[in-house]
């Protein structure tokens, strides 16, 4: 991955030299979802800018939609007007951006979707998707749950915000894989925690009231997982429960260090950003790229966590 990046930057450097000095020979525009609202997106933007500045001959226009679909559509149109060589978009809404993605496609500008894919209707207009595979992440979590409980137990699930592709896909992957690989583990109930630690804590309190025996909790991200852990600790039941999350956060990493949290899925926003930029550069250079480019998001548990840096978010 890093090597590939280096090779391309050399290639770009080479072509830049041939094209003559000074002028940037490719211009990439990016419109992001909502930078600043969470640490993942903030770190992503920083990493993207850093990777871009290290790439010679590349000029970037970095925009942020602030979570607003209308603003994102306007930004897409601006980028089309500026005739950039490629547009990277982190969709605020996978459905609503399809028409403007088509517009870019018709204007001959390749569109790369980053982080979370757009609706099926838009797939024919995009050059590539780059991001994590959330179904695989759900499957990994199911495998870790199975391992933690030795294939037998009763668990609850705290999912992400209803309607979010990431939430839906992780849940799907988790439930399917658990059913086939681990029939002895039963999901008693699923409730959304809205990616919110306090909400997850409340949901878990209610689960603890409702069920006398909970062997495991699967949370759609570590933020919610730690909320559930907080609730179980307050009820004095944390020791009996295996906590498994996704998107390893610093708090989840620390809870793992303390031995309170079983495992998670390591997803680095830095890898996410670099993969998106690389995919865009490859597309511009006319390289064959697969439609779906997933970057690696490995399992992280108490036993292998030393191989990973503590997440910065």
């Amino acid at each position: 991955m890093k090597k590939a990046l280096k090779t391309t930057s050399f290639a770009i450097l080479g072509s830049a030299l041939m094209a003559g000095p000074a002028a940037a020979d490719m211009k990439i525009g990016i419109t992001q979802n909502n930078v600043g609202v969470d640490s993942y997106q903030t770190t992503y933007e920083k990493a993207f800018k850093e990777a871009a500045s290290k790439t010679d001959g590349l000029e970037t226009v970095v925009l942020d939609a602030g979570g607003d679909v209308a603003r994102q559509i306007a930004q897409m149109q601006d980028l089309i007007q500026q005739q950039v060589d490629a547009i990277i978009i982190w969709p605020t809404n996978g459905q609503a951006v399809v028409p403007v993605v088509r517009q870019a496609h018709q204007a001959g500008i390749p569109v790369i979707i980053t982080n979370s894919n757009i609706a099926d209707a838009g797939q024919e207009f995009i050059a590539a998707f780059s991001g994590p595979n959330n179904i695989t992440q759900g499957e990994y979590s199911a495998e870790m749950m199975c391992e933690a409980l030795d294939g037998k137990g009763q668990i609850v699930q705290i999912s992400g915000q209803p309607g979010y592709t990431t939430a839906i896909q992780r849940q799907q992957g988790f439930e399917q894989r658990l059913a086939e690989a681990c029939p002895g583990v039963e999901i008693m109930e699923t409730q959304p925690g809205d990616w919110n630690r306090e909400k997850a804590q409340r949901v878990m309190e209610n689960f603890l009231t409702k069920y006398d025996k909970i062997d495991g909790v699967y949370a759609g991200d570590d933020n919610m997982g730690v909320g559930a852990l907080n609730a179980a600790k307050a009820a004095g039941r944390a020791g009996d429960i295996a906590f498994i999350g996704a998107t390893n956060f610093a708090v989840g990493y620390e809870a793992m260090e303390r031995g309170e949290y079983y495992g998670s899925v390591y997803q680095s926003p830095v890898d996410d950003a670099e993969a998106a930029l690389q995919t865009a550069i490859d597309v511009i250079n006319g390289k064959e790229v697969p439609k779906l480019n997933y970057f690696d998001t490995p399992k992280i548990t108490q036993s292998n966590m030393s191989e990973f840096d503590k997440p910065v978010f």
């Binding site: 630690r197 009231t209 409702k210 610093a250």
Partner: protein, 335 residues
Amino acid sequence: MSDTISEIKSGGEASLAKKYSQLLARQGILVAFVLFLVVFSIFSDRFLSTDNFMTVIRQASIIGTIAIGVTIVVIGGNLDLSVGSLLSFCTVLVVDLHDKIGPTGAIGLMLVFALLIGAINGYLIGYLKLNSLIVTLGMLSAIQGITLIYTGGQNVDIQNQEGTWFAFFGRGYLWGIAVPVLIFLGLALIAEFVLKATTYGRKVFSVGGNPAAAVFSGLRRNRMVFSTYLLSAFTTACAAIILGSRVMGSQNNVGQGYELLVLAGVILGGTSLLGGSGSITRTIIGVLILSFIQNGLLLLGYPYYAQWLVTWAVIILAVWLDIASTRGKIFTSFS
């Protein structure tokens, strides 16, 4: 206030049945509350237990604490929609400062900033007489912006979670009762006393009920309105202490949507959005109903969207009963 109106309307010669139905309408929210408790207890054996009740009240304490201040603002004839992002801001601030300058300094400094924001709201609405909906809605996004700038989008966490006395506010127990509950009910008791038994309280009611008359009788409306916003900022700051201590960390949008939950609780309690009437006790009942609905439906195993539907239906029903009690009829004639 609404009580007085319906009493005047019902007069002396009202039939017993009419009086009875009006009582039902007036106390509809209480009746609905009891009904909910009965239904949930029948269908879930987990519902009716001291443990569960304490859990629900503790869960309601964050929204409830904010609702105390907002009720006073609403009685004074205004709205406060900025409390959601103010809660985010205060929680982020107190959690972030905790590790930098210690819990005492963090709480103190956070309170100063919260009151400062309350004072800005109060000045714009009380002294400059700007529309409270617009000012606080604007403030809602302005404060969210400040929070994002402050954190740079990162989550903040308290490192030493076991060893700080800051944990007391969200996780501690006193006389066997959770501290958040004590803070919530303690503040509610004080606020209800101030509203019902002091001159200040009576002034808030008259400023909200009839601003023109209040000004003509020599009340300083601007000063009164200003003070109500200080109070709502203060109770929001108290809620932030509970929240920060309970979670021991904060996302920078943690309070998102709280402004509407709080307002729902206030409306459900029967405090009129037009000002001049309402009570803290009823707001508490409103907040508890919302909290019990969520808990009960979850214990019964209903999906989350059932909670949204039922919550909405209950609010509409409450508003309807409130209107019906003031006009003395359940339905209005088509004229």
